[in-house]
Assembly symmetry: C2
Homo-oligomer: 341 residues x 2
């Protein structure tokens, strides 16, 4: 059904009925001036927001709406995970260009709720309006965390070890693949599909973030959204330290290593690609046992240094500067020429 037939309030009513059921934690949600929410007594409220704009963050020719909804949820859930918190509530604001149908909006919400619900997160509010040209998605996710368990970017100290979960670079490689092929055509190569899946439907590391926070093994944590080199830089900036990372230790997936047709070497995707949504964190040597006891797939990739430089140690011990390389929204691609997010 066309939105012009359904109307703004008809659409809101549809979203409310299908995707935003009330709960004891959110007794007042869509359909009032504001949602009323309850977090655990004594917990901090964690709040993060992300805006995704057609033509800047995504391209309708290389993503389906279900994946777009999924990813817009995942990016925000990942931010809560990186604080060590539990995501709880989401507000979704959409600006919809006029040819949009109610079914397309529902598909976007289906993708959003598929991943949000899996991580205990309910849609409790939002805003819906028309757009002259581009689809705009603005998501706010609220979570909670015990004050003492919150892990910021600012606690890393010289001597701490640097770990990262999962594998790096898959999403950026997936973006390149999805752009190179006509969208919708799935490859016969399972590795291609795996990389594209990692790009379109990333899985936020909520459970791992909670474990790391509850064990209090980490001194600082961030999620890899801008690219490892940039995000490690953020930890260094906020903590007032430097870091050394070993190129040989970076966790690369079999799918990425098997891909022969990419434009750049695997290491480039791992360092400069963004949107991995893995957790990058630092652990003081005395707390390594705590981390090991968690049994999460985290790889040791380097160490924090007193020297403020950020250094990549290559094969044979050759050192080079690890410059931030993700995409800068105003300056464009930076030194390392990261892919456009």
């Amino acid at each position: 059904m066309k939105l012009s037939e359904l109307g703004e309030f008809g659409l809101i009513e549809q979203i409310r009925r299908t995707f935003a059921k009330r709960s004891p934690q959110a007794p007042i949600g869509i359909g009032d001036d504001a949602a009323a929410l309850f977090v655990s007594p004594g917990s901090a409220v964690l709040a993060t927001t992300d805006m995704l704009i057609e033509g800047v963050h995504f391209d309708r020719s290389t993503t389906d709406l279900f994946s777009l909804g999924w990813k817009s949820a995942a990016a925000n859930l990942s931010d809560i995970a990186a604080m060590g918190g539990s995501p709880r509530f989401a507000l979704v604001a959409l600006a919809l260009p006029s040819p949009t149908t109610a079914e397309q909006v529902a598909e976007l919400y289906r993708g959003f709720t598929r991943i949000a619900k899996r991580h205990g997160t309910l849609i409790v509010g939002g805003d819906t309006c028309g757009s002259l040209r581009d689809l705009v998605i603005s998501v706010t996710v609220l979570g909670e965390a015990k004050r003492k368990e919150i892990v910021t970017r600012a606690g890393a100290a010289p001597g701490d070890l640097v770990f990262v979960t999962g594998t790096l670079g898959d999403s950026a490689a997936g973006l390149e693949l999805v752009r190179s092929a006509e969208y919708g055509v799935r490859s016969k190569d399972p590795n291609v599909n795996k990389l594209i899946e990692k790009h379109l439907r990333p899985v936020p590391r909520v459970a791992w973030g909670r474990k790391i926070a509850a064990s209090r093994c980490a001194s600082a944590m961030i999620d890899v959204s801008d690219g490892l080199s940039s995000d490690l830089g953020h930890i260094c900036d906020e903590s007032g330290v430097g870091a050394e990372v070993s190129a040989e230790q970076l966790p690369l997936s079999r799918a990425l290593l098997a891909m022969r047709t990419l434009l750049r070497p695997p290491l480039w995707y791992a360092l400069s690609g963004g949107e991995d949504y893995e957790l990058l964190f630092t652990v003081p040597p005395g707390r390594l046992q705590k981390l090991r006891a968690l049994r999460i797939p985290a790889r040791l990739i380097g160490a924090i240094t007193k020297d403020l430089r950020r250094v990549l140690i290559g094969p044979g011990g050759r050192k080079q500067t690890l410059a931030p390389s993700g995409y800068d929204h105003f300056a464009g691609p930076r030194a390392g020429k990261g892919p456009k997010r």
Copy 2:
């Protein structure tokens, strides 16, 4: 300075330093993956979000950036006020077209913080990205309220009296005036300036909302953002009731009544104009004393009925249907042909 020179992270750092100082309630704000916030123990968290898009919600030729920032804050503060809550924290996401300068962004933030701080609200986070064409502002405001004091849209009962604060229609008249004149040219007529001011820099009724909530005199409340006819309709829909409103009782400002050059009669602006950000609320007759004790400028305009119709009583007692008339983002202007918001 051009944003392309300052860079994304330079801009974030500037916003952080100037507009987003930390506080005991928000010890972790801009510069981490999520803000960490504390509300009063036992209070509910109130959450509301609004997206404003250039060409849809505002036009750069009829507003300055300070006013735009102000208004984007005010609209969200007003939603918290309409729940009876206290706004506390704001997250501001901006998509900026490339000719934007750092000074322009600062001007928008100055307007935002001017009205937000006045109501005890701090900027604690956000997102900043490039936009191919239009300026997009997405604001989330978080507030708090004691559970028992929250006033929803759903509590109105037959026999309750309908009140509205302040005056109605000024903002819609101001919009017409600002469009009819070359922007920036201030009139010699103070009434014109007053109406334009009400449109560009509305004042959310936070203190009145708090008083109404704390006294527990109101059975339902909403802020007038879509226009009185629509917003009274929202209370009726959520409460499962109807209403009768007296045209002669609607509070009209002297400025509006004095304006001889408007395209429509004053009553039209009061019923169909939006963005007044006044509080519309219902009071059971037994609680009228409580309301009077508050000494807030609220006018009795009608009553809630068991009959589900929404009726406007005109001069001489003539009744007519009070149809929702605000702007529908997908269907366009509705029956009453309200102004585009």
